[in-house]
Amino acid sequence: MASPTLTSTPHPAAEPTPPGASRAKDRGMDRGFRYLSIASGVLILLVLAAVAAFLVVRALPALKAGDAISQDVGWIGAGQSLWTVIGPLVFGTVLAAIAALAMAVPVAIGIALFISHYAPRRLANGLGYLVDLLAAIPSVVYGLWGVMVLAPVLQPVWDFLVRWLGWIPLFAGDSNGNASNPPRVLLTAALVLAVMILPIITAVSREVFLQTPRLHEEAALALGATRWELVRMAVLPFARSGIVSAAMLGLGRALGETMAVLMVLSPGMLYSFKLLVASQQQTIAANIAAKFADANAMGVSALIATGLALFVITLVVNMAARAIVARRKDFSGAN
């Protein structure tokens, strides 16, 4: 107990207001640290504003150019303006993303349920890790795999779809009545996208499923519910909004994905619902990557304008996703 720092404890009466230099320094550090962290928070807002501002500024020339733009930008046809090409691009982007979502969501829910409520606990962690691994694979590798391994496998499947389900507009064939060969079609790209967004949807829904209050699960079980009835009674209703937001997050990812689409899809600029015919649609992100290298000043401006459109779309989707689920309460409450 002979420590000098401790024995120097001042007399009680004087103590609660010790003026010492070190206290003043501590207070200064306290304030400095606080301001530093607040400044970082503000910086984030500024960065986001800057992203939007730069995009708008660089997009303005193309937006103002009207149909004169087609003289400068090769991929905009004569007499067309930026607006006439943004339309099909937005259409293609949304169509690809929705097709991907439609394939990914049911499977992702299945996987998430498997991990959260069906697989033996010990297995579940490992399996969860395996699915997370899918998320860690770079998109360019997906592109490579999609175009060189997956596409050849899909050809007979797409042929089959056109043959038997061709009466559904989505699965209509080309004017020869076939699925395009090779299958560089939207559905192939969407399938690769679906595999890519699977992990994120799975991860979020798994998280939500695992958060189903034990109380509700036990209530269902105690009423004599089977595993599936438990899921339907307690898990799914509880997780509904979580699933929606997971899907929206996946949608956001799919909207912005570039390489896989660039490598897999044969592009076109049409408002076409044909998923199995090539050269019908193109996505904004892939179009930027494809056209950016050889764009002149106006071309870059036009591409940035499409990028702005993409930014706005993903913004809306993500905001919607966040709005649907009120953010989880703080974990950290004490007492």
């Binding site: 090769g74 991929w75 175009v147 596409a151 050849p152 080309d174 004017s175 020869n176 076939n178 395009s180 060969n181 090779p182 560089r184 660039l262 490598m263 044969s266 592009p267 076109g268 049409l270 044909k274 015919v277 090539a278 050269s279 019908q280 494809a290 056209k291 290298a293 050889d294 764009a295 002149n296 000043a297």
Partner: protein
């Protein structure tokens, strides 16, 4: 890590050349058709000049010309000569008060490649090619095709694979179709392939086109002959014979063509390709690709580097290197003389 990937030693390979080795970095870019040849030239040039680094960013001709004109590239690879009024006239800023010039360095046939099971040889007339690529002929057993290929068993729908990005290859190919099959081909000559049909597939870049042709069945498309690999190549009707896209046939077509002098300076070497030639053994669907350079550079070092590199590219050693790597046709000695004298005019500012 090592930049010496080929295991060569710089001393050994520079022993032959008497000229002092150059140094510095040169950024070029553009035509993807030239890419394979450029890689070969860069390798050869860097071996003799180990302190020099040449970067060639493959994108497309438009990007190369754009880069040259906005000063971000020191040289461009372009499949079409610079436009005298639109481009050369505005090159003053980027070229330090001088102007941009064209140097033809790479002559290559554009192969019309196909992938039809069991068929290795295909003969087509220019009209038939134009019909296929305009969508007028949609099946392989169309009489227009079978007439020229009595022995082949052809059937099934045709999938046309084209370049979806802006490309000099497309421009040369559509130029060929317009001039050689004027009655069938009604489209303008453009960098962007003009026909869209739901049996056509656009692909982004030369190799994607080739990949697309290869991955499908009943496909046909056009690409620089150097890139098509083992795919079947169409022999086109010239005069009364069918000519395959070989280097020699391409050289013959260039020999049959004249220089383009419209509004161009003497040191601007452009070629007006004669697509309708009937010279024996000439393959007119060719692409003449240029090195776009400035005739004035900011520093002597840069000017020397450009001159050194361009000279190496057109030298017979360089042309052989390219022929080996990319299957291109070496330029003729007459043309080489013109190009070398154009290169000699490149200088530093001031």
């Amino acid at each position: 890590g090592s930049d010496n990937a080929t295991g060569g030693s710089s001393a050994a390979s520079s022993s032959g050349s008497a000229a002092p080795a150059l140094s510095g970095t040169l950024n070029g870019g553009g035509s993807s058709a030239q890419d394979k040849a450029q890689q070969a030239w860069i390798a050869g040039f860097q071996t003799t000049n180990p302190d020099a680094t040449i970067n060639y960013t493959k994108s497309d001709s438009g990007a190369g010309r754009k880069g040259l004109l906005d000063g971000s590239l020191a040289f461009a690879g372009t499949d079409a000569a610079l436009d005298p009024t639109k481009e050369i006239a505005t090159s003053g800023t980027a070229c330090q008060g001088g102007k941009a010039i064209d140097l033809p360095v790479y002559i290559s046939p554009i192969a019309i490649a196909f992938n039809v099971p069991g068929v290795t040889e295909l003969n087509l007339s220019a009209d038939t090619v134009a019909k296929i690529f305009s969508g007028a002929v949609t099946t392989w057993n169309d009489p227009a095709i079978t007439a020229d290929n009595p022995k082949a068993t052809l059937s099934g729908p045709i999938t046309v694979v084209y370049r979806s990005d802006d490309s000099g290859t497309t421009k040369n190919f559509t130029d060929y179709l317009k001039k050689a099959a004027p009655s069938v081909w009604n489209y303008d000559v453009t960098n962007t392939f003009p026909v869209t049909k739901d049996t056509f597939q656009g692909q982004n870049g030369t190799s994607a086109v080739v990949q697309g042709i290869q991955a499908g069945t009943g496909t046909i498309g056009y690409a620089d002959a150097s890139a098509v690999g083992s795919l079947g190549k169409v022999s086109v009707k010239v005069g009364s014979a069918f000519v395959a896209p070989t280097a020699a046939a391409a050289a013959a077509a260039v020999d049959a063509s004249k220089r383009d002098t419209d509004g161009r300076a003497d040191n601007d070497v452009a070629i007006k390709i004669d697509r309708t030639t009937t010279a024996a053994g000439a393959y007119p669907a060719i692409l003449v690709s240029y090195l776009g350079v400035c005739d004035t550079y900011a520093t002597a070092a840069q000017a020397d580097l450009v001159k050194g590199y361009a000279s190496y590219v057109v030298s017979s050693a360089g042309q052989d290197q390219a022929a080996k790597a990319a299957g291109s046709a070496p330029i003729s000695d007459t043309l080489r003389k013109d190009v070398l004298s154009a290169i000699a005019t490149i200088k530093a500012k001031g």
